[in-house]
């Protein structure tokens, strides 16, 4: 069983409001979001429909739209919101410390 750990992903300033960036850690890829109200979130970096980077997608309010088929996820919960995505995204806890975005990965 792996133990959850906090990992520094990037500087908080690096992500614009309503945007998403890609964060690679080991052989895993995450997407880190800053939503309209300037809250930070993290999820797996690939769409659950096909292996496409969500970091190339579009953040609209609390929603991320996938660049390939315009499927959508709710960023805070990872819930699938629009076809063709049916499977929810795995999300990860995020905190900001000293201007850095930390995500808790297992």
């Amino acid at each position: 069983m792996s133990i959850a750990q906090w990992v520094e992903a990037c500087a908080a300033e690096e992500i614009e409001v309503e945007d998403v960036i890609r964060f690679d850690y080991g052989d895993r890829t995450f997407a880190i979001y800053r939503t309209e109200n300037s809250k930070y979130y993290a999820s797996d970096g690939y769409c659950t429909h096909e292996p496409v980077h969500l970091a190339d997608g579009l953040v609209m309010g609390d929603v991320i739209e996938c660049p390939k088929h315009n499927g959508r996820f709710d960023i805070p919960t990872g819930a699938a919101k629009r076809r063709p995505v049916c499977i929810a995204l795995k999300t990860y806890p995020v905190k900001i410390e000293e201007g850095k975005v930390l995500i808790q990965i297992d």
């Binding site: 997608g57 660049p67 390939k68 088929h69 315009n70 629009r82 063709p84 049916c86």
Partner: protein
């Protein structure tokens, strides 16, 4: 019947599906033109305004032409009047189905969904199955054995193209599927791309379609006239000519089995009326490369990427001439494709799969 050994099987349930997967052409990474992220974000911005305006214009003109058509019924004037009505019904029906299916036309999700459902019925495409078929078309654009939306194979089947002028090939296929769906079944091909979780929705939508169609038939019997069907249902057939004329410009005559939309997709300059009917889908290379850009921003996206793309066809007429000439050549030589030079400012074409850091995929050789 002897089969031609060179003829490929375009069905997505045949051996070409497996072959495409083995060759790394299925669900592959595609080439994208370099556009600064900031600019792309601007272009991707969603708006309700343009699509609401265009929807009012569309339904308003349908109502107006419909009224004229109604008043001319029983005279020869009804022929041109219904022709215009049919074109106005089916052509924007096709492009609104497309844009709202991507969920990019309106900013507000329910607006996309309402117009998607209405337009799907108007062009007789079952809403949910075609959402998945189109997703596959974007994943595996013109990959033989994978893409269910290849209009015609190589060598071309002229009968299908000619029948499609009145939607007489796709229409009956779709009606057969609707009947299957009404009874809770799918055809083999649909099972390839529709996930099981969507079956229930598919069946209920088909029951609504059947209810509307039966309602129109009942109205015809009641009034003793086909007039009700001339307004709903039959325009999907008699109004189909422009749909197919626009549709064949998208990919025909170009490469199959490549991973670069510049090689398999055509952008065509069209006049403002055609662009309104087609909702800018004439900027087709742009749409395939960046499907998140809404229709109203495609002309601007074209400006951003034209330095990286072959020259657009100068008009619909020029594109049709090019397509038909290529199809005629493909009758004797199915391997024939139109080679379009890139401008000096462009990156080279990408024909096949990219290996890790492999430049070999980025060549100007031809794909097999």
């Amino acid at each position: 019947m002897a089969s031609n050994p060179h003829k490929r099987d375009y069905s997505i349930t045949g051996p070409e599906n497996q072959r495409a997967q083995e060759r790394g052409l299925a669900t592959a990474e595609w080439y994208t033109s370099p556009i600064p992220r900031q600019r792309l974000k601007e272009l991707m911005k969603r708006k309700d305004g343009p699509a609401i305006r265009d929807t009012f214009i569309w339904f308003g003109s349908l109502a107006l032409v419909g009224l004229i058509a109604y008043q001319t019924w029983g005279t020869w004037w009804a022929v041109p009047a219904f022709l215009v009505y049919g074109i106005l019904y089916a052509t924007p029906g096709d492009s609104r189905w497309h844009e709202c299916g991507h969920g990019t036309a309106f900013k507000t999700p329910w607006m996309n969904e309402v117009i998607y459902q209405i337009a799907s019925f108007m062009v007789l495409r079952s809403a949910t199955p075609w959402r998945w078929s189109h997703a596959r078309h974007h994943t595996d654009t013109i990959i033989v054995g994978r893409d269910p939306e290849i209009i015609t194979e190589r060598p071309p089947v002229w009968k299908i193209l000619l029948m499609q002028i009145f939607h007489l090939y796709g229409g009956p296929v779709e009606l057969k599927r609707v009947i299957l769906h009404v009874f809770g079944r799918l055809d083999k091909q649909e099972r390839e791309y529709i996930p099981a979780s969507e079956y229930g929705k598919t069946f209920w939508e088909a029951r609504v379609y059947a209810f509307v169609i039966l309602g129109v038939i009942a109205a015809c019997i009641y009034t003793g006239s086909i007039l009700p069907a001339m307004f709903i249902f039959l325009p999907s057939f008699y109004g189909g000519a422009v749909v197919i004329l626009f549709g064949i410009t998208q990919h025909l005559g170009l490469h199959e089995d490549v991973l670069d939309h510049r090689l398999n997709t055509r952008t065509v300059y069209m006049n403002p009326i055609f662009r309104f009917l087609y909702w800018n889908m004439n900027y087709h290379t742009e749409h395939h490369m960046f499907p998140m850009v809404p229709y109203h921003a495609l002309p601007q996206l074209h400006q951003e990427m034209k330095h990286d793309c072959p020259a657009a066809s100068p008009s619909l007429w020029a594109a049709l001439k090019e397509v038909v000439a290529a199809l005629i050549k493909q009758k004797d030589n199915p391997a024939y494709v139109i080679e379009r030079p890139l401008p000096d400012t462009a990156r080279p074409y990408v024909y096949g799969i990219r290996q890790d850091g492999d430049e070999a995929a980025v060549t100007n050789g031809t794909a097999s």
